[in-house]
Structures are given as C-alpha cells and as structure tokens.
Symmetry: C2
Subunit: 243 residues, 2 copies
DNA sequence: CAGTGGTCTAGACCACGAA
DNA sequence: TCGTGGTCTAGACCACTGT
C-alpha cells in the first residue's frame, strides 16, 4: 500500500532507469537537457532534478555542471579488501587503476591525535592519494604516519586504496571502522559525486605488536562504485580480543 | 576558495547544527515548524527543508511526518562487529537492545539463489529481525538459511544484528561485503529514516568447511547511527585465499 | 556568447498525527 | 478539525562549459 504514494520523481527515475538498463540510453551518452526532460515528463525542473538525484545516488548517471547528465559506464563494482588484503582476483586483476599521491608533513590535529595516540602537534607524514579507474575517481585516501616511522621515499609505502604493500613490517593488528555517510564537500568534488551520493568511509588503524599505532588511514569511496569485502576464517578456537 | 559558493541551505544547516551541538537545542526537543524556521531565516520552505535534510543525513535530527522535527539523542554510535564477533566492549555492554524476530519459510528468489548457491525455489528459512535501541531502530536483518540446515526453534540461532551466537557449529568462513547506498523504501520506513540518509548494507555469507553456504544475511543499518568494525590480526604468514 | 546544470522563491495541494 | 511535514509548480537568477 505504501508504493503508490505521491512521488512523481520516483516514477520518472524509474522510467529513466528502465531506459538505461534496457540499453535505450547507452553508457557515456548524454541525456536530454533537464529543461527538455522536464517538459517531456510535464514536471517542473526541480522535480525532474530530484528524479535525476535518485539515479545519481544509484550510480547510474553522472552530473557534470555546464555539460549535462551522462549515463555512467556500468562499472562492475570495484572492491576494497579489508584486513591484510586477502587478494581478491577481482581487485588484483584490475590493471586500469591509476593512483596519484601527494605527500606532505603536517602537525597532528586534534582528531589525528586521538587516532594515532600521539602528542598534539606531532609531525605526521601525510599521503593524500586519489585513485582513478578509467578517468572515474575510485577512492580517496588520506594516510597519516608518525614521521619517525615514515620512510624517506614514498615508493616503499604504496599506500594504495584497495590493496597495500604486503606486510608493512611492523603492523600486527588492523582495525577498520566502516561508516556510511554523506561526503564532505572536498570529498564530493574529489570523487566527482554530488553531496547526495553516500560515501563508504573506512578508518583504518594499524598497530604494531607493542600497541603503538603505526598508521591511520582515512579512506573514502563513492558508495555507488565500490564495495568493501572482509573475510574471516575460523581456525581453532579464536579467543576474542578484549581490548 | 570553494567554500563560499552560494548555498543558503548549508549556512542554515550550519547554524542549526551549531545550536544543537552547543546545547541550545536539547535532545528530544522539537524544532520550530518548518514554515516558522523558513520565516526566521527568510528563505522558502523548500530551501529550509534542504537544510534540515542535511542535518537528517548527519543524524542530528529526526523528521516525523505530522509531528515535527526533533533533535536526536546524541547516540554514541553503536557498532556492528564483523567476522566472528571480536567482542567489542562497546557493543557487548549494550543492554538496551531489543530485537524482534519474524521467521518464515520462503522459496529462494533469483538473488538468493546466487548468494546461497542453491537451486531456484529451494525452501529457505527466513529470519527478519529488527533491532531497536531505546525506541530508535538500530538495524534490519534478513537472514536466509537452507531449510534443511535451519533449526526447528528460532532460539538456537539468535540471528542478532551486531553479535551472533558464538560458533554456529558448521560455518568455517565468513565473507562480508559492505556497501553504502540509499535505503530501499521498506528499509527507510523500517529504520525510520528518510530516503536521503545512507544505509550501511552488509551482505554476510557464511560457508562451512566443505564450501557449502550455510547462511546468507542481508543487514542494513542507518548510516548515521552505526559503524561496522572489522579487525585482523597478523599471525604467522597468512596465505591469501585464492577464491 | 549560448546552453547547460545549481540554487532559490512564493505559493499551492496532499498526507499524516493528535485532538 | 488543525497543525505538521511531503511534494510539486512556474519561473527567476547564478555558475560552469563550450564556442
């Protein structure tokens, strides 16, 4: 009974979605202008834009200011593999992933202080990584490492989003906190998504055997493009870690 | 430079957010009516509603049709613990979690067929669970088990969202796929969130040592209320599982 | 410059909740 | 019934992208 409530924009979204999934609108193709579509569906522009926002949230279209609305490539979902990358063939075989890294040194903010358990203002090496897959942003990562633990060159770390250099030597424990939320403005622009599209945010804390935090990573992925996968094997009687 | 773009509703959201975080608006309190707020901020109702949608997405307010907008209780984020519930004190110590379970038997749909690797139409035991924390919905779970594996009584399974009965006897491998997306209409109503609030959706597949899928769980959590936590320990040289 | 999406308005009408 | 939020309109103006 709750399906036929008044919501014209959902009907329109359904119609356009149908045209996309059936192939009448092809990937990469530009949709008619919003005013044109509004006239075609006999609705106002704001209603039509709400319909498009639904499709954008589903990852079916991409809105580009000043150019138009485009059908997104069907993008099989790329994955982020949690823990110590239990290499998933899907992710491992992805060759078209280009990563740009920018590294600087910053003093620890209040938030990073609590994450890394370091004194306020401690120097941290920051790696800001944006990975793109065929031009489409795939993930944004900001990785922080106490500077005395950070290597001189960037190459040794390979702080990739999705897989990482196997066995960072010192980390013995990884804790990942996953969260679904709206993107921050800078995330929205970096990932080329609207503020309506949810992001999958992962805060990864790596600790060494002494309990020292050796890395904090703030990862953000467009929710319509990536899944995160976590696997657990049952070996012996694993005792629950009590803090 | 990108901060001062024209977006009145963000300013308003920021102002109301400030009133909430500073305590001028207390938890549980009802906000002035939308028309009142619109007049107060000298904006139209749709603009004001956009501002409130931002706050709703942040989990700061709750909109109730016909009653008003209410400041949400600061709800420290409840957590879902992945894998074999590495019991987190936070979650484990949560006493105020009430779960309602409804169990039926359904034939496997196309989607469940691929998840559980069973023939189409196989009888499945379905457990539909809605957990509430102090009246606020906390999670929605739909768990499917091949009926020949399902116990007669519901009590043995305890398919809770957040923790589960330790050691379901047969499962040896758990794979959880995490995804951020907009809620389906039924999820939105069950979780008492708008369609704008993102959900953290987890698909959990439990496999026994022979590779048979013994359980598929579709979990949905309101993104503004729960985080999911996954931990990994580094013991020995763990060989990557290749499919 | 023209064409596009992004934001906003002032008002209308409908649906829900509590009297 | 009344007051509330939910949806929609017809148009205006601004910002971005191309020529």
């Amino acid at each position: 009974m709750t399906g036929s409530v008044p919501s014209r924009h959902h009907d329109i979204a359904g119609d356009v979605r149908h045209q996309i999934t059936t192939g009448r609108l092809k990937p990469g193709e530009r949709l008619p202008s919003e005013v044109g579509l509004a006239a075609r569906y006999r609705v106002s522009t704001v209603t039509l834009r709400r319909a498009l926002a639904v499709l954008q949230g589903e990852g079916l279209i991409e809105k580009i200011h000043g150019k138009g609305n485009f059908v997104r490539r069907p993008g099989r979902k790329i994955m982020h593999v949690g823990g110590w990358g239990t290499l998933d063939p899907w992710t491992a075989a992805e060759p078209t992933l280009r990563v740009t890294v920018r590294s600087t040194t910053v003093p620890a903010s209040a938030y990073l202080t609590t994450l890394l358990k370091v004194p306020t203002g401690s120097p941290l090496a920051e790696y800001s990584c944006l990975s793109l897959e065929q031009g489409a942003p795939h993930g944004l990562a900001r990785i922080y490492i106490p500077r005395d633990l950070a290597p001189a060159g960037v190459s040794t770390t390979t702080p990739s989003t999705g897989r990482r250099s196997r066995d960072s030597p010192s980390s013995a424990h990884i804790r990942e906190t996953v969260c679904a939320r709206s993107p921050t403005p800078d995330e929205a622009s970096a990932l080329r998504i609207g503020t309506t599209t949810a992001v999958l945010a992962i805060t990864r804390i790596a600790t060494d055997s002494t309990g020292r935090v050796v890395e904090a990573a703030l990862l953000a992925f467009p929710g319509d493009r990536v899944d995160a996968v976590f696997t657990a094997h049952h070996m012996r009687n694993e005792r629950p870690t009590q803090r």
